[in-house]
Symmetry: C2
Subunit: 121 residues, 2 copies
DNA sequence: CCCATAGTTCTGAATTTCGGAACTAACGGA
DNA sequence: TCCGTTAGTTCCGAAATTCAGAACTATGGG
């Protein structure tokens, strides 16, 4: 099977990255791929939080991430290996990904913690 | 005059910011507001590049930016003053805005300035 | 009061996104 | 080899979003 299309790093556009990561589900998928040693099977992220994502939606999410230049996908037998392209993107747009993922990390905690009553603020 | 709704800075969500800035036109508007001493009338940005933006679209772009927490708008007589909320956003999501605007700045140039050497790896 | 200016809201059309169902590719077992 | 299972893609209609023209509102000037 021919390899999927991936944009060259110099063709990667900021608007594509922002659009891809402006969806919390995609951002969560990307976070998972990035932190999980940059390799992950598609089906391993079949849910975000407690929300189950249908296969077809998952497939298109991966497509968006791939075409935005954020991940690299290759078939390995019956499944897909997804590598993050963090390093390349970091070289092209310094600080972008870490700022975005950091923003999500920072926003993720407060509200949830406040409602749950867990953190003695 | 009743002030328009603006989210408190702690209610600002990363996905809203990314979505707002994932549109190059909005990113350009925001860049203009940010750099122009953080004050600008709506009609002063009636075009992006050589593309003229209709009033209604412009209005909704400003609304998106405002509701994302990126700008603060107040009526002054018949026109609108738009202040950037850079400082607040920077405090909440350190490095986010500068990374994004830097990415756009870096992407905007390359095609034209490719002969500057170094980047064509 | 009437008009001009600046911006908003309404509305329908075009585009995008979502998700179920059917389809394809790769492997394992008999 | 053939069949079944698993992993993921594609197709297609419904829902949501975006776009832009037209009408409307608010403010200030003469």
């Amino acid at each position: 099977m021919r390899p999927l299309f991936h944009p060259a790093i110099e063709d990667v556009q900021p608007e594509a990255i922002l659009h891809a990561l402006s969806d919390p589900a995609r951002a969560a998928i990307f976070a998972k791929i990035s932190t999980a040693g940059c390799v992950e099977a598609c089906s391993a992220v079949s849910s975000v939080g407690d929300r189950v994502i249908p296969k077809s939606s998952l497939s298109s999410h991966f497509k968006v991430l791939r075409e935005a230049g954020l991940i690299r996908c290759e078939r390995h037998g019956v499944e897909m290996r997804n590598h993050s392209r963090c390093a390349e993107v970091e070289a092209r747009f310094p600080g972008l990904l870490s700022a975005i993922m950091g923003a999500y990390a920072r926003a993720g905690a407060p509200r949830v913690a406040a409602q749950k009553g867990g953190t003695a603020a």
